[in-house]
């Protein structure tokens, strides 16, 4: 069996040999380079842009501002029809009149080299009139706050309440109530390879070809066609090797669109590769929430009610085309979701402010929803003097609770929470840890253990964006082609940014067809060649593209066997394909290669009526289900140096259920990578701005990413509960690591400092924040 086999991803060897082909490795004839003049202010009016000196610089081909590209590209609004009240101000590829965050692109310099383009950008002279700015949500929503968008009467982008039961009553009658205000600071998803694009326009054919480091080639094809006014079939988006994406690369980015416009205007290939400063300023940001939440308990430890107030510090605009709402929406829907409780209220206020745009980065909203509920449970258990693990087990949804729609409105087919907990407790001896912990405290060594249970929303259904009005496919189609030699090409709409989904699909196809994996190649990342699909985001590859591949392979297998049956004068039902041979019981009749040869070159030998198509397609989308929910839990242990404030992760366990596992090796790596990003969010990563809205963390010297040296070994185990909604049974796996790590680390640090009478509810947990919480500085 190929499914379930631990095979390394097919691209790994080439990448490790240094033979990757990323966008920046591609060079086209007559190619020009792009650099941007970005706003130096958080909020300012553009009075004038003087490009004369830049245009005069040797090597500069063009300097573009909003005026020059106005006819070449349309504007856009981040609208979502499921959230019709959400404000969606108009956005432009280059800022017109007013800039609303530091880093917003105002002019583009096209030159023979990137260095000259940057020299030219320095010579563009922008006259600004600074406007009053707002850099935090509370300030933005104050009655007299300066407005970002003149047509709005406040900076409130959206507000909503989700309610179930009666929380007021439940809180009044509860035995114990705990409350905490959390701050989750702004960060981003740092990919090893920054964003990059080469846009090439052929005016003779009205054809745009784009090479881009991206997750969603078909989405980009649609967007470029519509915004640039081109026929969609004349736009081709190719994603070569992509060095990590994490959600950064499934949006429309204004600077990348400018590269396309410039290519169209100049009829020459244009390359733009974001440098790290561009990335921190103009990439999508994430988190930046202040959450106040309360949980009510009975004396016995039952969770009675939960209230969540989320102030979402969004950016200057909504992200296009997906909008920025999902992070707030996920927090409202997911907080406390693993637990049985009837009374729930979640209030969301989303504020525009003069900072970079927030969008969907790995595990959208999950880490916050998880950390909030898990911390409240620890606080509640502490107050009740109950074992926090027992309180969790008691309140987990389980058994007859399923199927269930949570109070937050999330559908659960099944969650294996207790099984995951039982498994985790075989991996770590908690009693022994407690013993050691007590002994070490006497020596001034503070260790803590934190647990965090999460649900993981994966494989989004087509209704969310379909009803939202976005051209975003949640359906996957697989095109499978038997070559004349008996090998198979498999074209998928999913894309591979390093997670190895190509290999997962290859395994599904090999298993279903009865061919060795080496006989199958998966081709992805090309909007012209591959069937229309959504790409890879939101943990959808295995569940959706995997199922589509299974269906296409089933059809192809059926056709191969039908041809074989007609040639052999047998009943197809008696025949099977094993290791590339058509077999009947123990007898080998003929090879798939022979059938392929006949099917392609001697089709006249196959009777009419036999399904002899050797290129087949199949599609798959979930129906009537917004997500496939996976689940799991994480346990972290840490040591806190209470003098320096440095937190050292010691152990990190994950028990995870993502349904059927295509490739345990790749799933474990996904989970580990996710945990590392979660630890980054918990301890290191933060985009800091000053009060004037200037980004203070513009390089890796100030923006700290988690490094291997600081990371603990991450132990991963699985419970495998296949979903019954598909034949393959796979759910997504990409969110899990990130979803739970922040909560686990936050709880572990709080457990460590508990005897010092301190708590902390702000991430990243930096040494100064921790020492302030401890009252030491």
């Amino acid at each position: 069996m190929s499914i379930g086999a631990e095979v390394p991803r097919d691209r790994a060897k080439r990448l490790l040999l240094g033979r990757g082909r990323f966008v920046d490795d591609i060079s086209l004839p007559r190619m020009l380079h792009l650099a941007f003049v970005r706003s130096t202010h958080a909020h300012a009016r553009i009075e004038a842009i003087d490009c004369a000196e830049a245009r005069a610089l040797e090597g500069v081909v063009a300097v573009l501002t909003a005026a020059e590209i106005a006819d070449g590209v349309a504007s856009w609004r981040a609208e979502h029809k499921l959230f019709p009240a959400m404000a969606a101000p108009e956005q432009f590829a280059l800022a017109r009149d007013i800039v609303r965050w530091q880093g917003e692109a105002v002019a583009a310099v096209v030159a023979h080299s990137r260095a000259v383009a940057e020299d030219g950008a320095e010579l563009v002279d922008v006259s600004w009139t600074e406007l009053p700015n707002v850099v935090d949500g509370k300030q933005a929503l104050a009655p007299d706050a300066p407005l970002l968008h003149g047509h709005m009467d406040s900076n409130l982008a959206y507000t909503t309440v989700i309610e179930a039961g009666n929380t007021r009553k439940a809180f009044e009658s509860a035995d114990v109530v705990v409350e905490e205000t959390f701050r989750f600071h702004r960060h981003t998803g740092v990919s090893l390879e920054a964003r990059g694009i080469i846009a090439e326009f052929e005016p003779g054919e009205d054809r745009l070809t784009v090479h881009q480091s991206h997750q969603t080639p078909h989405q980009q094809q649609d967007l470029y066609a519509r915004l640039l006014g081109l026929p969609e079939h004349k736009v081709r988006v190719i994603c070569p090797d992509v060095g990590g994406a994490f959600g950064l690369k499934h949006h429309l980015m204004a600077d990348e669109l400018v590269a396309c416009v410039a290519a169209k205007l100049l009829a020459r290939p244009i390359k733009y590769i974001a440098d790290r400063m561009d990335s921190f300023l103009a990439d999508i940001h994430c988190r930046d929430h202040e959450v106040t939440a309360r949980m009510a308990f009975s004396q016995a430890g039952d969770i009675l009610a939960l209230e969540v107030d989320d102030l979402f510090n969004a950016g200057a605009y909504g992200q296009y085309p997906r909008t920025s709402i999902a992070e707030g929406n996920q927090i409202s829907r997911l907080t406390g979701a693993p637990y049985r409780h009837e009374h729930y209220r979640a209030n969301l206020a989303m504020a525009f402010l003069n900072k970079g745009i927030l969008g969907h980065i790995r595990s959208v909203g999950h880490p916050i929803a998880c950390a909030v509920a898990e911390r409240l449970i620890d606080l509640g258990a502490g107050k009740l003097e109950l074992d926090p693990i027992a309180v969790r087990r008691r309140n987990y949804l389980h058994g007859d609770d399923f199927p269930r729609t949570s109070v937050g409105g999330v559908e659960f087919e099944h969650l294996s929470l207790r099984d995951c907990l039982d498994k985790a407790l075989t991996m770590i001896d908690v009693a022994r840890f407690r013993e050691d912990q007590a002994g070490l405290r006497a020596q001034g060594i503070y260790r803590g253990l934190g647990i965090a249970t999460f649900v993981e929303l994966t494989a989004i259904g087509p209704e969310y964006y379909g009803e939202g009005g976005q051209h975003i496919s949640a359906q996957e189609t697989c095109l499978m082609r038997l070559e004349a030699s008996g090998t198979v090409r498999c074209y998928t709409g999913a894309t591979d940014q390093g997670q190895g989904i190509d290999t997962g699909i290859q395994q599904v196809a090999a298993d279903t067809l009865g061919l060795p994996m080496a006989a199958i190649e998966v081709i992805s990342g090309d909007s012209a060649l591959c069937p229309m699909g959504g790409g890879s985001w939101g943990s959808r590859g295995a569940a959706l593209a995997g199922e589509a591949a299974l269906r296409a392979a089933s059809t192809l297998r059926h056709n191969i066997l039908a041809i074989a049956a007609s040639l052999l004068q047998k009943d197809a039902g008696c025949l099977d394909i094993k290791a590339g041979e058509v077999v009947e019981g123990g007898i080998t009749h003929m090879s798939v290669a022979e059938i392929a040869r006949i099917g392609h070159f001697q089709p006249y030998t196959i009777p009419h009526g036999v399904p002899a198509d050797l290129t087949v397609t199949a599609r798959y989308a979930t129906t009537g289900r917004m997500f496939l929910a996976g689940n799991g839990l994480q346990i972290a242990t840490v040591e806190v140096d209470v003098e320096s404030g440095i937190v050292t992760p010691l152990r990190h366990l994950v028990v995870h259920d993502c349904g059927r596992i295509l490739n345990p090796l790749l799933v474990r790596e996904q989970v580990r990578g996710g945990v590392v990003q979660g630890i980054g969010s918990a301890l290191y990563e933060e985009l800091r701005y000053d009060n004037a809205g200037h980004l203070l963390t513009g390089s890796f010297a100030d923006y700290l990413v988690p490094m291997a040296g600081e990371m603990p070994d991450i132990e991963v185990a699985h419970i495998e509960t296949p979903t019954a909604t598909s034949e393959l049974g796979a759910k997504g796996a990409g969110e899990a690591g990130t979803a739970g790590a922040v909560g686990a680390i936050l709880n572990a640090v709080n457990d460590a400092i508990l005897p010092l009478g301190a708590t902390i509810a702000e991430v990243p947990i930096t040494p100064p924040r921790l020492l302030k919480a401890l009252g030491r500085i």
């Binding site: 400063m277 440095i646 000053d690 390089s699 700290l704 930096t766 100064p768 020492l771 500085i777």
Partner: protein, 263 residues
């Protein structure tokens, strides 16, 4: 070449400080002068009562040198905190000192070890003590036409103390605060240099005086020294790492250092 009129050249050796500056467009020299092949600057010479380290000696070469390890274990301790192997294989002592990053490890070490820097130009050579070499944030006594050719460190007597400590967020990051303590046996003649808490590496002169007076690293003497160093350092404002935090760290590091010395 540095002295040529009309040229605004920059010396490049290992490039570990200059290249980031060029990348960020913070420096835009008209030309780069590569001194990487001046082999005479790449030597560690044992002199009479001193050891002279050439400006082009790389961090990894210092770390591999038994002579340095024996005479100045402080340097070996400190080099373990400098970035990661890639940087240590390219970065040079002269480059690091000439960059004068206030959080640089080697500057504080040279200060504690009473190092003297050889500054050379077509006008000749002059020696400047570490106290006078560092003049401000990224600023040194180097004139525009001078290069740092060597550092001379006086040998210490037997049985002495050399301890380097720092706190960084991640292994190899710039220090949030650090210290280099050099003293004779029983903490005699202590020299305590600090990094990351001022615009340059600084000596904690009053704390040194107190330690010399008390002549001990025990009990209330430790408390006095820790209190004194808290008063003595005055870190700059930094929204992420406020002065109170860095001051606290220096105190923690000093307490930990002195604890190692108590029998």
């Amino acid at each position: 070449m540095l002295a040529l009129p009309g040229e605004d050249g920059a010396i490049i050796a290992g490039g570990q400080s200059l290249l980031p500056l060029l990348n960020f467009r913070l420096a835009a020299p008209s030309c780069l002068i590569d001194i990487g092949r001046l082999d005479e600057l790449r030597r560690i010479v044992e002199g009479d009562g001193y050891i002279e380290i050439g400006g082009l000696v790389r961090h990894c070469e210092l770390a591999a040198s038994a002579v340095i390890g024996e005479a100045f274990p402080l340097l070996h301790q400190a080099i373990g905190h400098i970035a990661h192997p890639g940087v240590r294989h390219r970065g040079t002592l002269g480059g690091s000192l000439a960059m004068a990053d206030p959080a640089g490890e080697l500057g504080a070490c040279c200060l504690a070890l009473e190092g003297r820097m050889s500054l050379q130009s077509v006008r000749g050579q002059r020696w400047v003590g570490a106290e006078d070499f560092f003049t401000g944030i990224y600023e040194t006594a180097l004139a525009g036409d001078e290069i740092l050719t060597a550092v001379r460190l006086p040998r210490r007597g037997p049985g002495g103390i050399q301890i380097f400590k720092e706190v960084a967020r991640r292994r190899g990051d710039f220090a949030l605060a650090g210290l280099a303590l050099v003293a004779g046996a029983n903490l005699s003649n202590p020299r305590l240099a600090l990094l990351g808490v001022a615009d340059r590496p600084v000596l904690a002169a009053r704390t040194m005086a107190l330690l010399r007076e008390d002549g001990s690293a025990m009990g209330s003497a430790v408390d006095r020294a820790v209190a004194q160093i808290g008063k003595e350092v005055d870190p700059a404002q930094d929204p992420a790492y406020p002065p109170a935090y860095r001051r606290h760290l220096v105190q923690v590091l000093l307490r930990r250092t002195l604890a190692e010395l108590s029998p």
